[in-house]
């Protein structure tokens, strides 16, 4: 389908495709098997300017456009969902700094994140605060020139390989979500360590560990924005980031679709109507997912206010499509599909996380329903007024 990408977007897409094919494809199995973070790969992507796209132009980036993120991430995920996650996590971590940090903080952190010299991650989730994200127990107590952080963050992507973290902690427990503040934490701050490393079903090229704070001293100037606004920053950041998850799912779905098409062709299955139905549905749904992801990205980039609902659309649908395509692919390939060498089983393992991370699809649906409730309420009021 023609999406009328600008010349710059086309150039980015080509560059991302080349990197994915030449740098990611040769190592994707190795990192999946070992469950290791592809540090050299991510650094090289930084050198080639692929991390700049997540950062505003004033701070060494190219504008932090969501459309650019989606284009680049999709291409990497088309080859490897794990590498795409390892790559895209930087955008989630640096997003709050780009948009809610002070001028000084931005100048201090963003340029080196843009080059890939420093990697960035994001710490919100805790053992008891998954979908219920506002229930975080990590505390930040102000003592003189420092905030003292205590608590354990869980399932933190890229944690032990990153240099800078956006971390959420409660500065006032009595205020619940409104007592949560955001901090910029550097890896060398005393009292920060890494806990258990997770052995995951998929995206094994992205390392996931606990992030442990034991009386971790964070300079008070590393508070982001204002105390108590951390949760709002987080939600706004998620609104911007979700199309990126959609793009990872989209890339996985695209890759799985291409693999299936090639398999069906090689095995002369395309004349079989059972196969035609499956492959046609795949093509339709992958394209629909792409259209939705791109449309949301354009909407956010255009500065439309209040994109929560559409942002959730762009995460739910592509991730559901990625799972559906991968499951159909594996069924179509039969016993070949469950063997590592045919790669589709990895697509399936990688696809599954896209329905879970950055807010499960269930939570996304509650977000959508909440927005729809508001719409229904205003429709009801309008009807009252007009009658």
């Amino acid at each position: 389908m023609e999406y009328f990408l600008t010349d710059a977007e086309k150039e980015l897409k080509n560059k991302a495709r080349t990197i994915a094919e030449t740098l990611v494809r040769p190592v994707r199995d190795e990192f999946d098997i070992k469950g290791e973070f592809p540090m050299d790969l991510v650094k090289e992507m930084g050198k080639q300017g692929m991390l700049k796209i997540f950062i505003p132009a004033e701070y060494g980036g190219t504008g932090a456009r969501i459309m650019d993120m989606c284009i680049a991430v999709e291409e990497v995920a088309r080859v490897c969902g794990g590498a795409a996650t390892a790559y895209a996590v930087g955008a989630l971590g640096s997003g709050p700094i780009s948009f809610f940090a002070s001028e000084e903080q931005k100048k201090k952190y963003l340029p080196s994140i843009a080059t890939g010299e420093k990697l960035c991650a994001f710490g919100l989730t805790e053992a008891q605060a998954g979908s219920d994200a506002a229930n975080i127990q990590t505390t930040a107590q102000k003592q003189g020139d420092f905030y003292i952080l205590n608590g354990v963050k869980q399932f933190i992507s890229n944690s032990c390989v990153s240099d800078v973290f956006t971390v959420l902690a409660s500065t006032d427990k009595s205020r619940g979500a409104r007592g949560i503040s955001a901090f910029i934490v550097e890896k060398d701050y005393p009292g920060l360590s890494y806990g258990k490393e997770e052995n995951k079903l998929g995206i094994r090229a992205s390392v996931t560990t606990e992030l442990v704070f034991e009386n971790c001293k964070v300079p008070k100037e590393n508070l982001m924005g204002k105390e108590g606004l951390g949760f709002i920053y987080t939600m706004r950041n998620f609104d911007r980031a979700r199309p990126g998850v959609g793009a990872i799912a989209l890339g996985i779905a695209q890759g799985a679709f291409e693999d299936t098409l090639d398999f069906a062709y090689q095995h002369s299955l395309l004349e079989d109507q059972y196969v035609q139905r499956i492959i046609a549905d795949m093509a339709v749904e992958v394209e629909a997912a792409r259209a939705l992801t791109y449309a949301t990205a354009r909407m956010i980039d255009a500065g439309v206010k209040g994109c929560s609902k559409e942002s959730s659309f762009s995460k739910v649908y592509p991730s559901d499509v990625a799972m559906k395509v991968a499951l159909e692919a594996i069924k179509l390939m039969g016993p070949y599909g469950v063997l590592r060498e045919n790669y589709i089983e990895k697509r399936l393992r990688d696809a599954k996380i896209t329905q879970i991370y950055e807010g499960t699809n269930e939570i996304q649906r509650t977000v959508i329903a909440l927005e729809l409730t508001k719409e229904a309420s205003s429709r009801a009021k309008n009807k009252e007024v007009s009658s």
Binding site: G130, G334, L339, K352, E362
Partner: protein
């Protein structure tokens, strides 16, 4: 559907065994991809390895319904164990006792019943080997990346196309001592402890005494073997789905979010309702197919339906179980991701979903 007294007793015996013996070891076997030799021997001692073998060959002579109920119980905890037992009975023993010569039966059935031999099976869908006649014997060359129960030097059954014929298939027992290599590639998504190996044939000679039926009848042996086997593997899928549902409910009751157990939430309850309904429907179809088989009636349509629905159910149920677990479902600390992976593999044993749909359509249209 009411199970008879024998089935009920068998079911509770297997349940006790899986809880007391298999459960503790399952993670270790999974992690190390090791074949549960001791547990399989214990199952042999209980008669499960000779479940379908008639008493005349010292087997348990169970009805198929008794066997599928047993498989279902094992799969709730460990699909690899159930798959080993099902492969041994349905893909190894069954074609031998249904179609093999008296000599072949005498050679393989007694040790298969006692567990001295655990028989394997080379998956049809992935077969890349060919057989050629050299006048006296057949010689197999090529490979098969998906051979079940192939861990030690045991025999396995193989169905290999014969070169130079239209569609003749050599149905045979490949003896453990034959010229071949077993590669431990750990390439399968699931059933990690089911002894899956890649077999590379090295001009493997198959004597006439190792053929199951005549070469012209190979396809008949294959189809007949498949028909019975898919009921067994459908039962494993039902067990996997039930195991995943049980785990999801347990977790859903313990996991507190928004100040209450997540099992209270509508989106979780909807999944539970879906899972429970599809599991029950699949189970009834599996039992129906097994009982039709046991009473000598036409069971083909029911068997294909059972495998088709149970496969869909196991895949969707294990997928939703992971979703209920959220991030915890995605890590190896909890069993649901294993159920999910195992379901994918079992679903494609004995034919793809499209093949089963075609059987159903054919039998339904008439």
């Amino acid at each position: 559907m009411n199970l008879n007294q024998e089935c009920v007793m068998l079911k509770s015996e297997l349940k006790k065994f899986t809880q007391q013996v298999i459960l503790d070891k399952v993670d270790e076997f999974e992690k190390t991809c090791s074949f549960p030799t001791d547990n399989i021997q214990k199952l042999a001692d209980m008669g499960i390895l000779g479940a379908l073998v008639p008493e005349t060959y010292d087997g348990a002579g169970l009805d198929l319904i008794g066997f599928v109920v047993s498989l279902e119980e094992m799969s709730k905890v460990c699909a690899s164990t159930a798959s080993i037992v099902a492969t041994h009975n349905a893909f190894f023993i069954y074609p031998i006792f249904k179609h093999g010569s008296e000599e072949l039966k005498k050679k393989y059935l007694p040790p298969a019943v006692t567990g001295e031999v655990v028989g394997g099976f080379a998956c049809i869908g992935t077969n890349e080997a060919k057989a050629a006649s050299n006048g006296e014997n057949y010689v197999i060359t090529g490979a098969n990346p998906l051979v079940f129960n192939a861990v030690s030097d045991g025999p396995f059954t193989a169905f290999v196309p014969i070169s130079g014929t239209d569609s003749n298939i050599l149905a045979c027992v490949v003896d453990g001592g034959s010229a071949l290599e077993r590669e431990d590639t750990n390439a399968s998504l699931g059933l990690k402890s089911a002894g899956i190996r890649r077999i590379v044939y090295r001009d493997t000679t198959i004597g006439s005494d190792s053929l199951i039926g005549s070469p012209e009848k190979g396809i008949t042996v294959l189809n007949d073997t498949h028909d019975c086997a898919i009921i067994c593997f459908a039962a494993i899928l039902v067990g996997i789905a039930q195991g995943a549902l049980d785990e999801a409910i347990k977790y859903g009751k313990e996991r507190i979010q928004f100040n209450q157990p997540i099992i209270n939430f509508g989106m979780v309850r909807e999944k539970v309702a879906y899972m429970a309904t599809h599991i029950e429907a699949s189970r009834q179809l599996v039992y129906e197919a097994a009982m039709l088989y046991d009473t000598g009636k036409n069971f083909h349509r029911a068997a294909a339906m059972a495998k088709h629905l149970a496969g869909q159910t196991a895949i969707e149920t294990t997928n939703q179980a992971i979703q209920i677990f959220g991030g915890y479902g995605y890590i190896r600390d909890y069993p649901v991701e294993r159920f999910f992976r195992d379901a994918q593999v079992v679903n494609v044993i004995g034919g793809t979903p499209a093949m089963h749909k075609e059987i159903i359509a054919k039998e339904t249209i008439g």
